[in-house]
């Protein structure tokens, strides 16, 4: 029979946090938001780097096909854009990059290598990037609806549902 030991450790984190003084939730969040605002410009630059990397991967496609390594690189870069877009509230870019994650992951799982669905998502992301002029709500809706059709065509479910 395997041995089970139950510990009730004293955690230094809990001891430190219980000391007098400290900060309220409201003040902590205010200070954190201010700190984040100070580096938001770098966020746009990071999105730009990830988009350029995605465009480079699409440009390297051989005969309209990507290798599994390239698709994994697409996933990694798109994931970075999801994080940045979500952090700074770029809603359309967030949705387009999530859709690219779904498509790239779906292609990998299905053993397909088509570059076209990846390329169309990357173009949409470029359209929604913070350094481009923001499209109207109507145009944004139309582009996102077209991206949804691509996922529907391949029958790829969102990543979170797997």
């Amino acid at each position: 029979m395997s041995r089970v030991t139950v510990h009730f450790p004293t955690l230094p984190l809990q001891e430190a946090a219980a000391r007098p003084g400290g900060i309220t939730r409201e003040n902590a969040l205010e200070a954190a938001q201010e700190n984040l605002r100070a580096i938001s410009g770098e966020g746009d630059a990071t999105i730009e780097i990830a988009l350029a990397a995605l465009e480079a991967i699409v440009g390297q496609a051989d005969g309209g096909r990507l290798t599994p390594e390239q698709l994994r690189a697409v996933l990694n870069e798109a994931d970075q854009v999801v994080n940045m877009a979500g952090t700074f509230g770029y809603a359309a870019l967030d949705r387009a990059s999530r859709a690219l994650c779904d498509v790239a992951d779906g292609l990998l799982r299905a053993g397909r290598r088509d570059v076209a669905p990846v390329a169309v998502h990357v173009r949409a992301m470029r359209l929604f990037s913070p350094l481009c002029a923001a499209p109207s709500a109507e145009e944004t809706g139309r582009v996102l609806a077209e991206l949804a059709k691509v996922a529907a065509f391949y029958n790829f479910a969102p990543l979170g549902s797997q």
């Binding site: 030991t5 139950v6 984190l13 430190a16 900060i23 200070a31 954190a32 984040l36 999530r98």
Partner: protein, 182 residues
């Protein structure tokens, strides 16, 4: 009523994330909370190297590191011989593509999972929860980490119950009516 306060000035945090900007964002939020000692690492090996030299009070680990998964790193931490460090509260941050790795992180002994993009609100609330909640740690042959069972207690009998939930004058010592009649 005065808001509860959290004193994080003396807390040291190990932050492991492959992306330097992601590390910068989380560090900025942590500094806003008053945390002064933040050790950033970009790989699991780097994190293990740091932990061998300096203890930390909290670990924030990205789900998928370039050289290992967060589960591997957490498992290594939970098997350390030194007592305070092996029970260090560990939070796994998962990006959009890493959902599938979350069960592995939990089973390796992670305390909490936080989905990216990480908002300061979510981060603060999780840290607050870790600071205020006492949790037993379980050690077995194949698992060392926080007790994964949470008590799910019913509301008290006198309040918040639906009419259909009511059981009148039931004596807990007596068997249910059906079995009593048989």
């Amino acid at each position: 009523m005065a808001q509860p306060r959290l004193n994080l000035q003396a807390v040291s945090v190990l932050l492991v994330d492959r992306n330097h900007y992601s590390r910068a964002l989380i560090s900025q939020a942590l500094r806003g909370f008053g945390i002064k000692h933040i050790a950033p690492c970009d790989s699991g090996a780097g994190a293990q190297e740091y932990l061998a030299q300096a203890p930390v009070d909290l670990c924030l680990v990205e789900a998928e590191l370039p050289d290992m998964s967060s589960a591997d790193l957490i498992r290594a931490i939970r098997r350390l011989p030194t007592a305070p460090l092996r029970f260090v509260p560990t939070m796994v941050m998962s990006g959009y593509t890493q959902f599938r790795t979350l069960n592995a992180a939990r089973d390796a002994g992670a305390n909490l999972v936080l989905k990216k993009p990480v908002s300061p609100q979510a981060l603060f609330d999780r840290i607050h929860w870790l600071c205020r909640t006492k949790r037993a740690y379980i050690e077995t042959a194949n698992y060392v980490g926080p007790d994964r069972r949470f008590h799910d207690t019913d509301p008290p009998d006198s309040a918040y119950k639906r009419g259909t939930d009511k059981t009148e004058n039931v004596d807990p010592q007596q068997p249910p009516a059906e079995s009593a009649s048989s």
